[in-house]
C-alpha cells in the first residue's frame, strides 16, 4: 500500500497539451476516481502513473519515491484495462499468474494467491477456462484477479466497466467496491460516468480540458460544486442554469429571473450574496429535485410559481417535468408521480432557494 502524489504534472503531445499541470495527493488506502468528459486528460494521467506514457514535466511519486523514470514493471502497480487485455492463449489461472511467474515466485505461493483471489471474485470454477469461453463480466473479474494477485501498491482502473451492459455495470460496481473494502489497496479509477464516480469514490477528481476542476468527496461535489462545469457534470438529470440578476427591493435582496418572475432570497443566502454587484449577469443553479410541486404549506425559502409543462417523463418513482419560463431553455423539475402533471397543462411548482447556487456567468465560478 502506498500513497500517490502528482506534482505539477504536464503531458504534451507535439503541440497539444493533454494534461496541463495537475497537483493531486492520494492517501494510502484511498479510492480516488478521476472523472470527466472524453479528452479531459484523465486516461493520460492514469497512464502516466502507470508508466505507459512519459511525463513531459512534473513529478509522480508512489510511496514517497519519484517514479518518473521507473519502468512500469518496477513501479509495483497493477492495471485493469477497458478491454480486459486478457492473454487469449492462456487459461484464467495462467492469465492471473503471468506476472508472478515472470518474477519466479514459488509455485505454492502462486497457487495460494490465485485461490484467494478467485474466491474473492467468485470465479473459482473458471480457472481452467480460456478467455474466449467467458462472458464480459467474467472476463472483467479475471482482469481484476490478475491485478489482485500481484498485491501491488496501487490499483489502476482504466474505464473497466465501459464495455459492459447497464445491468452488469451495476453488479460489477458493487464487486469492485467489495474488493476494495477487503483488500484496501490504494486505487486510482478513471471513468467518464459520474454515477460510477459518485458511488465508488472516497474522493472524486473532476477533470476538464487537462485541468482539475475540483477535488472532493461525492457529497462535497454534489452539494458544494465550485465551478459551473462541476455543477453541471455531477448529478443526473443535470442541474438547471437559469440566467438571472440580483435586485434590491426595499432593503431586501431578490433574485429576478424574468420580467414577471422574481423571488426573495432567504436570509442565509441574502447574507452571503450581499456583496455581489446588482447588475452582474448571473446564473441561478438549481437541481431538479429542488423544483418540485408546490405544497400546501410552503417552508421558508421555498417560493411557488406557475409553469406550463412541455414534456413529462414518468419514471415510476418520480416524474420529470420540463418547462420553460418565457424564453429560457428547458428547465427540469422532479415532482411526485401523483402530482397530476400532464404535458401541456399548467402546474404549480415551487423553487427551494435554500439549496440554490449562484454562479458568475462569465467566470463560471460558484459564488
Amino acid at each position: 500500500m502506498a500513497d500517490v502524489t502528482l506534482r505539477k504534472v504536464i503531458k504534451r503531445y507535439e503541440d497539444v497539451e493533454a494534461v496541463r499541470g495537475i497537483d493531486l495527493d492520494i492517501a494510502d488506502h484511498e479510492f480516488v476516481v478521476l472523472v470527466g468528459p472524453s479528452g479531459c486528460g484523465k486516461s493520460t494521467t492514469l497512464r502516466m502513473i502507470a508508466g505507459l506514457e512519459d511525463i513531459t514535466d512534473g513529478d509522480i511519486m508512489i510511496g514517497g519515491d519519484v517514479v518518473n523514470d521507473v519502468p512500469p514493471k518496477d513501479r509495483d502497480i497493477a492495471m485493469v484495462f477497458q478491454n480486459y487485455a486478457l492473454y487469449p492463449h492462456m487459461t484464467v489461472a495462467e492469465n492471473m499468474s503471468f506476472g508472478l511467474r515472470l518474477k519466479h515466485y514459488p509455485k505454492a505461493e502462486i497457487k495460494t494467491r490465485i485461490d484467494e483471489a478467485a474466491r474473492m471474485l467468485d470465479i473459482v470454477e473458471l480457472v481452467d477456462r480460456k478467455p474466449k469461453q467467458l462472458s464480459g463480466g467474467q472476463r472483467q473479474r479475471v482482469a481484476m484477479g490478475r491485478a489482485i494477485v500481484r498485491n501491488p501498491k496501487v490499483f489502476l482502473f482504466d474505464e473497466p466497466l465501459s464495455n459492459l451492459d447497464a445491468k452488469l455495470r451495476v453488479q460489477m460496481r458493487i464487486e469492485i467496491k467489495k474488493v476494495h473494502q477487503k483488500v484496501r489497496t490504494t486505487t486510482v479509477y478513471v471513468t467518464h460516468d459520474q454515477v460510477e464516480a459518485m458511488t465508488l469514490a472516497d474522493r472524486v477528481v473532476v477533470m476538464n480540458k487537462g485541468r482539475i476542476e475540483q477535488i472532493g468527496t461525492p457529497n462535497d461535489l454534489y452539494h458544494r460544486p465550485a465551478t459551473r462545469f462541476v455543477a453541471g457534470f455531477i448529478g443526473s438529470p443535470a442541474m438547471n442554469f437559469i440566467p438571472c440578476r440580483l435586485e434590491e427591493v426595499a432593503g431586501n435582496l431578490n433574485i429576478r429571473l424574468t420580467d414577471r418572475i422574481a423571488f426573495p432570497l432567504p436570509p442565509a443566502r441574502a447574507a452571503r450574496y450581499q456583496n455581489v454587484a446588482r447588475d452582474a449577469k448571473l446564473l441561478l443553479g438549481l437541481r431538479p429535485e429542488h423544483l418540485a410541486e408546490a405544497k400546501a404549506h410552503p417552508e421558508p425559502g421555498v417560493e411557488p410559481f406557475d409553469a406550463v409543462l412541455d414534456v413529462i417523463e414518468p419514471m415510476g418513482m418520480e416524474t420529470l417535468v420540463y418547462f420553460t419560463l418565457e424564453g429560457t431553455q428547458e428547465i427540469c423539475g422532479r415532482v411526485n408521480p401523483n402530482a397530476s402533471a400532464r404535458a401541456g397543462s399548467p402546474l404549480r411548482l415551487a423553487v427551494d432557494l435554500n439549496n440554490m447556487h449562484l454562479l458568475n456567468e462569465g467566470t463560471g465560478a460558484v459564488i
Partner: protein, 312 residues
Amino acid sequence: MVDVAFQPNRVAEARSARKRSSLRAALKRKSTAAFLMTLPLILLVGILVLYPAFYSLHLATLNKSMQRFVGFGNFEFLFKRDTFWLVVKQSCIFALSAVFFKALIGFVVAHFVHNVPAKGQRKWRGMLLVPWVIPPAMSTLAWLWLFDPSYSAFNYTLSFFGIGPISWLGEPGWARFSVILVNVWFGAPFFMIMYLASLKSVPDQLYEAAAIDGANWWQRIWYVTLPMMRNIIAITTLFSLIVTFANFDITRILTAGGPLDHTHIFATWAFRVGIEGSDLPLGASVSLFMVPILAIAAVFILRDINKRGNEA
C-alpha cells in the same frame, strides 16, 4: 514490495538531468533491440537480393569471358538479334494474356464458389486450389506428358471428335497456347482464392439494395462487386504480372523455349544464353530488360498499397 532506490529529497535538481539521460538510454535500448532484430533480414536482402541486382548491371557491361569492359556492347548486340525482339514480344504477349485469363477465370470461379452454400464451399475450394499446391515443375511434367507428340491423351480424346492430332508443343502457335494454358491452369487458383476472400467482404445489404433498385445480375456485378473489389483486383493483377513476366519453370520444362525460340521468354532465354551458352554477361543483359517493366508494376503496386492503407 519492490523498493525503488530513489530518494525523494534530491528530486528537484537531479530530476531533469536524470530524466533526459535515462530517457535517451531507454530510447536507445528499444531502438537498438529493434534494429538488431531486423538486422538478419536487412543483411539477407541486402547481400543476396539487392547486391546481385545491382551487380547484374555491372555484369552486363563485361564481355563473355568477363575480362574486359564493353559498356553497352552486349545491349547493342542484343538489339541486332531477331531472337531478342522475338523474346520481348513473346514475353509481353505471354504475361499479358496469361494474367488476363487468370484474373478472368479466377473472378468467375470465385463467384460460383461464393454462390454455393457455405458448407459446401470448403470442398470446392479444396479441389480448385490443387493446381497451385502441386510444385509447378511436377505438374508441368504432367502437362508435358499430356501434350506428348505421340501419346497425347488430349489428342486421343479429340480423335473421337474427328479433330486431327494437334502438335501441342511442336508448332509455334500451339506451343504458345500450351504454355499460356499451363500457366493459367497453375495461376488461376491464386486469383480465385484472393477474389473469394474479397467477395465475402462485400456486405450483402449492398446487393439487396441494388436488387430492390432493379439491378439484374450483370448490373450488380458491375455496380456493386467490381467497385468494392477494385483494390484487390489491382494488387493481384500487378503482382501476378510481375511473377508471370519472370516465369521460368513452366516454359523451360514444356518447350525449353522452342520450337525455334518461339516460346522463349526473358527468363528462359537468359538461362539459355547465360548458363547453357556460358555467357553470363549476355545473359545478365537479357534479364535486365525485365527490370523496367517490373519497376513500373512495382510503382503501381506501391501506390495501391498506400491507397488501401489510407482507405482502411
